[in-house]
């Protein structure tokens, strides 16, 4: 069996919920490809819906004959959340919104946890925002991040962003995001969040040491939002930058980390360099390895250029780092510098930092 990833655990948890079984009962599916697990879940949800379609449609038709309040009460007392969740896609959305006015928030949260998000879109258009926010808050209070994540890709980003306004637990928001199946859906939601919320989310990532989840999520954002997040991290304070760098190293997240760094402007890059360049050699070496593998030498060139404005100690440290590079890497660094319009960066700009370092100097 291959090692279980967060994505596999999430997919199995969602599948288990569709089947109303414990996730551990589906361990035998852990090696199935993620997209197949997702297709399987939709297939099972469709099968369960089709299995009693005639009777479920009969229930929806019959419910129109009784007062809304009574139908809602019968739903809550006799049908329960699993069957009511089956009815979500069958009931007329306007009528569904009327039922919602007679249902308790806890019960609606129970229904939401079992609803196929593919069929909820029309009902969501009719539900009042405070109702959806109350359901979301209840699910967060229960620690049910999975359910909320389930809906992110199936609701308009502005609805998701509006619901998030009611969730003040920023760490919970990150935990919800970690379960979102297609992380591409996060970008338009993040784009709608005010700057203060992005700051709060980054702060929560740092406070709760959610860097593994956070960096995975941030790295799936588009350029504009990655820049926003990267800038937020650097501008929070140097302790946050240090915590991020420590997490890059501890969790081997340099790939995702460098993606953020690549989006910093020169000013913020100088702040970043000020923290980066005083780290121990092994940490720097790990970063250099990833820079080389990603062919991301322009990043190091930009860091070197940003470091020009920093104090002598930091610049001297940069000189040491470059000096320790093997010749092949120095050549790649020089080439990247030339490509960025700074030919001879080592020979000129860094010479004062590492005077013994000449273009032909070979180390390692």
């Amino acid at each position: 069996m291959t090692s279980r990833t967060v994505e596999t655990d999430t997919a199995l948890a969602k599948l288990a919920r569709a089947l109303e079984v414990e996730p551990s009962e589906l361990d035998f599916l852990a090696d199935v490809r993620l997209e197949h697990l997702r297709d399987l879940r939709w297939c099972i949800t469709d099968t369960l819906g089709a299995a009693d379609a005639k009777r479920l449609n009969g229930v929806v038709a019959a419910s129109k004959l009784v007062p809304t309040a009574l139908a809602a009460a019968i739903g809550e007392k006799w049908f329960g959340p699993v069957l009511c969740a089956r009815l979500v896609g069958l009931v007329e959305p306007k009528r569904g919104a009327q039922y919602a006015k007679h249902l308790g928030v806890a019960f609606m949260a129970d229904i939401t946890a079992r609803t196929d998000p593919r069929v909820a879109g029309e009902l969501v258009k009719e539900l009042e925002l405070p109702t959806m926010q109350a359901i979301a808050v209840t699910l967060v209070e229960r620690g049910d991040h999975l359910t909320l994540s389930h809906f992110v890709g199936h609701l308009p980003p502005e609805v998701v962003a509006a619901i998030l306004e009611a969730i003040d637990d920023n760490a919970a928001v990150v935990r919800i995001a970690r379960y979102v199946e297609d992380l591409g859906h996060l970008d338009p939601v993040v784009a709608l969040l005010p700057d203060a919320r992005v700051v709060a989310l980054v702060q929560a990532v740092d406070d709760d040491d959610l860097w593994v989840d956070g960096l995975r999520l941030f790295s799936h954002l588009g350029d504009e939002q990655i820049t926003r997040v990267a800038t937020t991290i650097v501008r929070l304070d140097s302790a946050t930058v240090a915590a991020a760098l420590e997490a890059f190293d501890r969790h081997d997240l340099w790939d995702q980390g460098l993606q953020l760094v690549e989006h910093l402007d020169p000013g913020d890059l100088a702040t970043f360099a000020d923290v980066l360049l005083v780290l121990d050699d092994p940490v720097i070496d790990a970063a250099i390895e990833v820079i080389d593998r990603r062919e991301a030498w322009p990043v190091l060139v930009r860091i070197a250029l940003a470091a020009e404005g920093l104090n002598g100690e930091v610049r001297a440290r940069l000189g040491e780092i470059v000096e320790r590079l093997p010749r092949s890497r120095i050549e790649r660094f020089e080439q990247a510098a030339a490509d960025l319009g700074h030919p001879g960066l080592i020979a000129t700009t860094l010479r004062g930092i590492a005077p013994e370092l000449e273009p032909n100097h070979s180390v390692g």
Binding site: V21, V59, L65, L70
Partner: protein, 49 residues
């Protein structure tokens, strides 16, 4: 997925379908008992047509 795994999965789906059918029987019977007597006839007619 092996044949054995596929069989286990099919059993779980079958169980879920059976559980749902039983729940629906119970819910419909319970729901009908809560409906005013006058409405029960028309509701049953719609439910079981």
């Amino acid at each position: 997925m092996t044949d054995e795994d596929a069989g286990r999965l099919a059993d779980l789906i079958e169980d879920a379908c059976a559980r749902q059918a039983r729940s629906l029987d119970h819910a419909i019977a319970g729901g009908l008992s809560r409906i005013p007597r006058l409405l029960r006839g028309p509701v049953k007619a719609v439910l079981f047509r």
